[in-house]
Amino acid sequence: MSTQKRTKQINLSRMRKSVAVKPLAVGVAGMFLSACTDNRQQADIYTSVEDCTSANPDATQECQAAYQQAVEEAARTSPKFSTVSDCEYEFGDNQCRQVSTDNGSFFMPFMAGYMVSQLLSPRSYYSQPLFTSSSRYSPFRSRWVTADGHIFSGDVRKRNYRVNSSTFKPKPTVSRTISRGGFGSSVRAKSAWGSRSRSSGWGG
C-alpha cells in the first residue's frame, strides 16, 4: 500500500468531543511560544522614556518618539470601559483613568510600558503600548498584555521577547460600536418559512 490516506495523528485531549460553548473572554494564551518561528525579532519593553534611554544612551530621540507613538496608539486602541469599577476589576485599583471624547466618557487603563523593536535600525522602529494588572481577578495580573488582549508569557519582570513582526501591526481603531444586528436578517427571513426547527444550521 502506498501512503496513508488519513490524518496521521490527532491530539485527542485537545480536540473536544462535544461542543462546549466557551464564555466570551479576552483572548489568552502565550502565543509567542507557539511554533511559528519565522519573522521573529527581538523586542524590548521599557516602562518609561528614561528606562529606554538608560538602556540605549545613543537613542534618546528614538526612545522619546517610540514612547510618543505608543501613547498615541494606547489612546486609540486600549481597552475601554464604561465604569471605573469594570476597568479596575480588570486592571487593579487606581490603574485606570477617565477619558472624555466627543463620543462620551469612558475609562481606560494607564499604559504601563511600551514594547520597542528595531530601535536602532536605520529604517524604522516599531512601538506599541503595553498594560499590566494588579487585580487578582484578572488573567493580566503581573503580566504584560497588549491592547488587544494578548498576554505575554512570564511576569512583568521579563523585559525582552522574540516576537512576530505582526505584533506591531497597528490595530484598527474602535472608539465605540454604533449599531449591532446588521447581519443575520436574511436568515430570519428565510427561517420564517416553514416550521422546521433551526437547529440544523445554514451549511450546505
Binding site: 488519513r6 512576530n164 474602535v174
Partner: protein, 362 residues
C-alpha cells in the same frame, strides 16, 4: 461499495484504494480546477456576474478578492458515485459546508477504535486527511497574513453550525492562532467603519459559517467595503458556490465525464425529453427543488428560495444500497482533496441527509 454495503450494528462503506484515488480523489482535484476556471470567467464578465445574481455594488469587491487570490479554507463537492461509473458533480458547497466534524474527527476516531479492538483489519485505511490539512492550512494562512488571532462566527440557535465552528476553532488553535467567537447577529459596526465583536474589539480576520448571498443582502452588506475584513471563506466563494456555476461548467467543458448536463432555466434547449432537476441559484438544504419530466414540472421540496433564478440539471439518480440513497461529499482543503464523507437519505432528494456513515479503504 463492493456491490453490497456492509452492515452490522454499526454500518460503514468500504472502498478500494483504486476507487478512492482514481474515481474520487483525481476527479475532485480536476473539478475544483474547472470551478476556479469558471470563477475566473465570471469575475471578468459583467453579464455573468449579473447572471449569477450578484448585486452590482459588490462586483469590485469580488474582482479584487479573486485577483488577490484571497485564501480559501475548505469546500465540499457533492458527488454521485455508484462504485463503478465516473462520479458526477451535483453541486459545489464551497461557501458554508458542514458535517466537517463528523468527517475529520469522528470518522477518524471510529476507524482507530475499531482497528484497535480488532473489529476491522489492521491495514484498514480511510480517505480522510481533513484535520491534518485544516491545521496546516490555518498555519499557512496565519503565516501569509501575519496573523496571531482570528474571529469565528455563525448564527445563533444552530447547534450544528456552532459545533462545526468550534471544531474549526480547535484546528486553528492547534495551528497556534488565538480564536475569538462572535455570533453573526451580534457583530457590531463601529464609528470608524470596522466590524466589532461584543467586547468592541475590531474584527480584522474572520471565519464565517454564513452564506455570502445573505451577507450581501443584509443591512451590513453596505459596510463590507469599508470594514475591510479578510473573510474566510473569501467573497469570491459567492461565485464558486453558486448553482449557476453548473451550467457554466457544462458550457466550458461540454461532455466532461464528471459533469451533468446543465442550463440556465431561462435558456434551456432540451427540456422536451428526459428528466431534469430544477434548482434555485442559492438553495440551501435541498429546498425549492422540482423535477421536470416530459415538460411537466413537479415540486419535490418546498422552501423560501427562487426569486434569484433557477438552473436545470440532468437528473442522475443516487445509487441505492439496501433501502438508502447514498451521496458522497468530497472535501477539499484549499486546492487539495482531503477526504470523503458518506451520507444517506431514505428519499431521492437530499433534503435531510441526517445519517452519516463512516468508510474504510481496504
Amino acid at each position: 461499495m463492493y456491490g453490497e454495503p456492509y452492515w452490522d450494528e454499526s454500518a460503514y462503506y468500504q472502498f478500494s484504494l483504486e476507487q478512492i484515488e482514481q474515481d474520487i480523489e483525481a476527479p475532485t482535484a480536476e473539478l475544483h480546477q474547472m470551478c476556479l476556471a469558471a470563477t475566473e470567467r465570471v469575475v471578468n464578465s459583467d453579464a455573468l456576474l449579473a447572471r449569477f445574481s450578484i448585486p452590482a455594488p459588490y462586483w469590485g469587491l469580488i474582482r479584487t478578492a479573486f485577483a488577490r487570490r484571497e485564501p480559501s479554507l475548505y469546500s465540499r463537492l457533492d458527488l454521485v458515485y455508484d462504485g463503478k461509473h465516473p462520479v458526477k458533480l451535483l453541486e459545489n458547497n464551497a461557501d458554508t459546508p458542514t458535517s466537517l466534524y463528523e468527517s475529520g474527527f469522528w470518522q477518524w476516531l471510529w476507524l482507530e477504535q475499531n482497528v484497535d479492538k480488532g473489529a476491522l483489519p489492521r491495514q484498514s485505511d480511510q480517505f480522510n486527511s481533513l484535520q491534518e490539512k485544516l491545521i496546516h492550512r490555518f498555519a499557512d494562512i496565519a503565516r501569509q497574513k501575519h496573523l496571531t488571532q482570528m474571529h469565528f462566527s455563525c448564527c445563533k440557535d444552530t447547534d450544528e453550525d456552532r459545533g462545526t465552528v468550534q471544531y474549526l476553532q480547535d484546528c486553528a488553535a492547534e495551528a497556534g492562532l488565538d480564536t475569538d467567537f462572535v455570533f453573526i447577529e451580534d457583530i457590531g459596526l463601529a464609528d470608524t467603519g470596522v466590524f466589532t465583536d461584543l467586547q468592541d474589539a475590531p474584527i480584522t480576520d474572520c471565519f464565517k459559517l454564513y452564506p455570502w448571498e445573505f451577507m450581501l443582502a443584509d443591512p451590513y452588506g453596505e459596510a463590507l467595503v469599508e470594514a475591510d475584513v479578510d473573510w474566510i471563506e473569501p467573497i469570491w466563494k459567492a461565485i464558486i458556490s453558486n448553482k449557476a456555476i453548473l451550467p457554466l461548467l457544462w458550457q466550458m467543458f461540454p461532455g466532461h465525464p464528471n459533469l451533468l448536463e446543465a442550463y440556465f432555466a431561462n435558456d434551456c434547449p432540451a427540456l422536451s425529453t428526459g428528466k431534469w432537476v430544477k434548482k434555485p441559484l442559492f438553495s440551501r438544504e435541498g429546498a425549492n427543488i422540482s423535477m421536470i419530466e416530459d415538460q411537466q414540472e413537479k415540486a419535490l421540496s418546498d422552501g423560501p428560495y427562487g426569486e434569484e433564478g433557477f438552473i436545470v440539471q440532468a437528473f442522475h439518480p443516487l445509487p441505492r444500497f439496501e433501502r438508502n440513497y447514498t451521496l458522497i461529499g468530497s472535501w477539499l482543503v484549499d486546492n487539495l482533496p482531503a477526504g470523503i464523507s458518506v451520507r444517506e437519505d431514505s428519499s431521492l432528494v437530499t433534503q435531510d441527509l441526517s445519517r452519516y456513515l463512516p468508510h474504510i479503504i481496504l
